[in-house]
């Protein structure tokens, strides 16, 4: 950059400070996010001021009320036409309020709500020193195995901070798919990622594993954020703006005025291509696509299982939402460049997830690889680049989140002396001892496998149909093949549960409180309803499939 242009940048900046207008914020349209973030801040205050005994109840109450209220706000906005006719970009071009955003935000909120129930579950483990315990460490800061940990347990401490942390994460996730400029995108990413890193670290059992998972997640997450940020910088260099609309305009070549400060870089396709690829890499990390997936099994396994469920469902929804918006709003003009690459990513993701899952022996790792394979299936819908592709992805995400949360909730129930019994060999014969739990888990597995009459089939059918119509026929073939591979390990678990002899020292199935029962019940209900009568929800997703530009 020449000295003159630096000067001009400087002086222009100096000039504009005098003219900064008051930002115009549409509070009503942003209310879903504001409610959740406000409740999260309140939660921090609760931690500070409410006596320890009452915190759990206050936090659960606050979280549930906030999520329900936020969802109500979403419904109100959708009913008010913001999902279709009145869709527009709020907060000075930073946040979009449109169909995909509202649909995904609603999905995230509902998924978070049922996840919060599993966070609040306190009946699975036996009481410690007369105190009910949940899945989280008594005191996250105490060193595992130390005296301070034991005294914290004895004192009946609980990490009720998980609720505000989860709310912060939800707040970030709500913004992520709605972000309409790259900076908002980045900030939303950090807002939901940081709490998740923490949440991963606070397991009550196997704490070292949990902390290891959190550190890995944090390191790799930071690495991916760096990619994203660098990509943002390059795109800014290319377009002279971080706004989606303006970048898109430059990509399409409809902008002829060139910012004199960026005269050297603007319109340089190398910047565009490299920047776009790096942003994609950052987002693919979040969705868990191969080769950015390697954190997934370790983190899913180490994190407290309720957090795993929450993360696997809500993060995936938010990340795919952001990916969709980026590809459909910012980069449609670049379709011919990114589609082949995304094809390759989708193929290796589908195959990689399905193949490596075959040899897994831990149920949580198995589900982690399954989530990788599913990320591949969803990518196939994303690549369709048609409105049908968008609605198929929306529908898939909705069905998939509830299956995932339900499946991880069932995992929390199967326990032995060391906590959750996640090794597959321990699940042998579960169907003989606890037919109901095994049957419910079988339903979730069948939904993962995409067997008809479950949401998995309807979703998979929708994305493959959209992909095929979008000209990605070979991708569909690979998708169906990897579905066949994936079916093997899902069915294998069912066979293990129902057709193997139970082990003498096998795990017991804990009887949960109504909270987890609600989570699992909702999971089953959504899975079956979306499987048997998907049309209403497909129509809904269809109506919500147009991005505002």
């Amino acid at each position: 950059m020449s000295a003159a242009s630096v000067h001009s940048l400087w002086t222009m900046g100096a000039d504009s400070t005098a003219k900064i207008p008051t930002p115009h914020i549409e509070y009503a349209q942003l209310s879903p996010v504001l409610i959740v973030l406000g409740a999260a801040c309140l939660g921090v205050l609760v931690e500070a001021f409410v006596p320890r005994k009452g915190r759990y109840y206050a936090q659960v109450f606050l979280a549930v009320v906030a999520l329900v209220a936020s969802f109500a706000a979403i419904v109100a906005l959708a009913a008010g036409g913001y999902g279709s006719t009145k869709a527009h970009i709020a907060a000075m071009g930073a946040v979009a309020v449109d169909g995909p955003a509202l649909f995904l935000q609603g999905t995230i909120l509902l998924a978070s709500l049922v996840s919060i129930f599993t966070f609040a579950e306190r009946r699975l483990d036996p009481e410690a020193h007369g105190n009910r315990v949940d899945s989280f460490a008594a005191q996250a800061a105490s060193v595992p195995g130390s005296e301070s940990e034991q005294s914290a347990v004895k004192a009946g401490f609980t990490t009720t901070e998980v609720f505000p942390l989860a709310l912060f994460a939800v707040g970030g996730m709500l913004v992520f798919p709605a972000a309409n400029d790259l900076l908002t995108l980045f900030i939303a990413l950090e807002v939901f990622s940081l709490p998740l890193y923490l949440l991963c670290a606070v397991a009550r059992r196997k704490r070292l594993m949990s902390q290891e998972a959190a550190v890995k997640y944090f390191l790799l997450g930071a690495f991916s954020s760096a990619f994203l940020l660098f990509g943002i910088a390059l795109l800014y260099g290319y377009a002279g703006s971080v706004s989606y609309a303006k970048i898109a305009a430059v990509v399409e070549g409809s902008v002829s005025t060139i910012d004199p400060a960026l005269a050297d870089t603007m319109g340089n396709d190398a910047l565009l291509l490299i920047g776009a690829a790096m942003i994609l890499a950052g987002l693919l990390f979040k969705v868990g696509a191969v080769p950015f997936h390697m954190w997934t099994p370790d983190v899913y396994q180490g994190a407290p299982t309720p957090v795993t469920g929450f993360m696997a469902a809500a993060t995936k929804v938010a990340a795919f939402g952001a990916l969709l918006r980026l590809l459909y709003v910012v980069l449609p003009g670049l379709r011919w460049d990114w589609r082949p690459v995304m094809w390759a990513v989708a193929i290796v993701t589908m195959l990689g997830g399905a193949i490596v899952a075959i040899t897994q022996t831990d149920i949580k790792r198995l589900l982690a690889y399954s989530s990788i394979a599913h990320a591949g299936f969803i990518l196939a819908g994303v690549i369709a680049t048609t409105p049908d592709g968008v609605s198929a992805v929306l529908f898939y995400l909705g069905g998939y989140s509830f299956v995932t949360i339900g499946a991880f909730a069932v995992v929390t129930l199967v326990r032995d002396a060391g906590g959750e019994a996640t090794h597959l060999s321990k699940w042998a014969g579960l169907g003989r001892r606890s037919p109901l739990v095994a049957a419910v888990f079988a339903i979730f597995l069948l939904a993962f496998a995409g067997i008809p009459l479950t949401s998995g089939f309807a979703g998979k059918f929708a994305v493959f149909k959209a992909a095929a119509e979008g000209g990605a026929g070979p991708l569909v073939v690979v998708g169906v093949l990897s579905s066949a591979v994936a079916a093997f390990f899902y069915i294998r678990v069912i066979v293990l549960m129902f057709f193997s002899e139970p082990k003498a020292d096998g795990p017991t199935v804990a009887v949960p409180s109504p909270l987890t029962m609600t989570t699992i019940g909702v999971g089953v209900a959504v899975t079956l309803v979306l499987g048997v009568a998907p049309q209403y929800f497909l129509d809904l997703a269809n109506q919500a499939s147009v991005f505002v530009r």
């Binding site: 890995k216 099994p297 990689g352 490596v356």
Partner: protein
Amino acid sequence: MENLIALLVAAPLLGAVVLLCGGRRLDRIGHLLGTVLAAASFVIGAVLFVDMLGKGAEERTFTQHLFSWVPVEGFQADVGFQLDQLSMTFVLLISGVGTLIHIYSIGYMEHDERRRRFFGYLNLFVAAMLLLVIADNYLLLYVGWEGVGLASYLLIGFWQHKPSAATAAKKAFLVNRVGDMGLSIAIMLMFTTFGTFAFGSVLPSATDASEGKLTAIGLMLLLAACGKSAQVPLQSWLGDAMEGPTPVSALIHAATMVTAGVYLIVRSGVIFNAAPDAQTAVTVVGAVTLLFGAIVGCAKDDIKKALAGSTMSQIGYMILAAGLGPIGYVFAIMHLVTHGFFKAGLFLGAGSVMHGMNDEVDMRKYGALRKYMPITFATFGLGYLAIIGFPGLSGFFSKDKIIEAAFAKGGTEGWILGGVALLGAAITAFYMTRVMLMTFFGEKRWENDADGNQPHPHESPRSMTIPMIVLAFGSVFAGGIFGVGDRFLKWLEPVTGHAEGDSPVSAMTVTAATMVVLVIGVGIAWAVYGRRPVPAVAPRGSLLTRAARRDLLQDDFNHVVLVRGGEHLTRSLVYVDHTLVDGVVNGTAASVGGLSGRLRKLQNGYARTYAVSMFGGAAIIIAATLLMRAV
């Protein structure tokens, strides 16, 4: 009046339902109820017949549309009936002979504790057979076709405690499935060709279709006819079907069901007329079966099996006539009706003999029965004279016409077919005379049965003799009534059409030749079985005789070619499945599993490795994106 048509089927169907579902309470009146309902069907048929006679030839087709069975866009299946002269002929034959055999069965099955069920099955048969002949479309005909197959299966295996009966029923069912497959394929072909199954739509437009398609349909219909009418190559079940009670053999396996194939071909005459190749196939099948059945009939010592061979041979005549086209259709049906009378009479006579001889069926253990069973002897004798074509009796009129028509086919074909038909007539005379002589003449060769009971031959009860007498009247006079003044020809011609052939020999010559071969056949039989005493143990016989006793090796052929062949085929398929298919499947599974085991090693738990993977991935994505642009 036309609304009565449905009642034809409804009456016996009601009987079947009531008798089969009614339970033991109906044991005492079941047989009467079944008989009354069969008779009701005959009465309705007769009323409709009188009504039909009162109309001109053009108005004699009655129709009744009952309901839409499968009303789907582009696929219209109706339950509707069409009663024309052809159907009417069958209706009267089926319900008439059927009623007589119901009456006969009252006596014959008197001591059987499952008599109610037997009458239920008989009613089911009558209902299905009537449905078959009055259906106005091929799909409904197929329902009746399967219905008679089911009834036949149930009745052949009626004495299911005998393994031979159970096996015979299964055999009949399986062989019939082959033919049924032909009919279903024919119906599908019709649907794809004409878009409908209705006689009223298919037959008039048949000539519009290509000859290839019509030939295919015709051959499939012929396959169906072969199965149901026991024609070569699907003939093997009929002999074994004699395991069923004798009234069943008379009604189903002689007079009515086995003629369904003839009905099918004559009904579809328009299709065959336009497909000469299919027609030739029909004549070949008829001619071959005609000789086949006759030869088998010569060698059997079991009276029912000898008659079964004869049935096969006589139906061969009908199929031959049906294959001749318009010159033969009418005579095929005419022979069918007269055969219905005399063959049913012969079977009932055989049943009567068995009834008096402790259920003995071996003719070598009969002899001299004419004095003990005079009515049976008289009726059986009249049936015998009818079937061999004794001048003036039924068979004389109908068979003679078929032989004439075969010659009238013209050319070498005509000479061959005519010659075969004549030869068949000679053999018929031989084997029927043999049956007659072995049963009613000669010395007593009676033996005690397995329980040591001495046979006390006696005349059968009235319920059995009356139907025999009625059928004997039919055997004597039916041919004359039909033949004199071409009454039957005029009756049926509007439906089937008729053409006079171009015979190289005059009718008188044919009749004379028939008389000559008749005398020769009877003479040889008398020389062998009449002049000399019949040995009680069958002599070893010539190679042909031994083969004929084994039904000309039909079962050996089927066993070697079909059973063994099928076993080899399935075995090799299983082998291919185990090695090739399973090999590919298991190999794929193993290689995917191996790949999985290797790939999971990449997941080594080190964050640095994961970071490298991400870095490499990002680098590849960037490079690929740039490359895409460069390309």
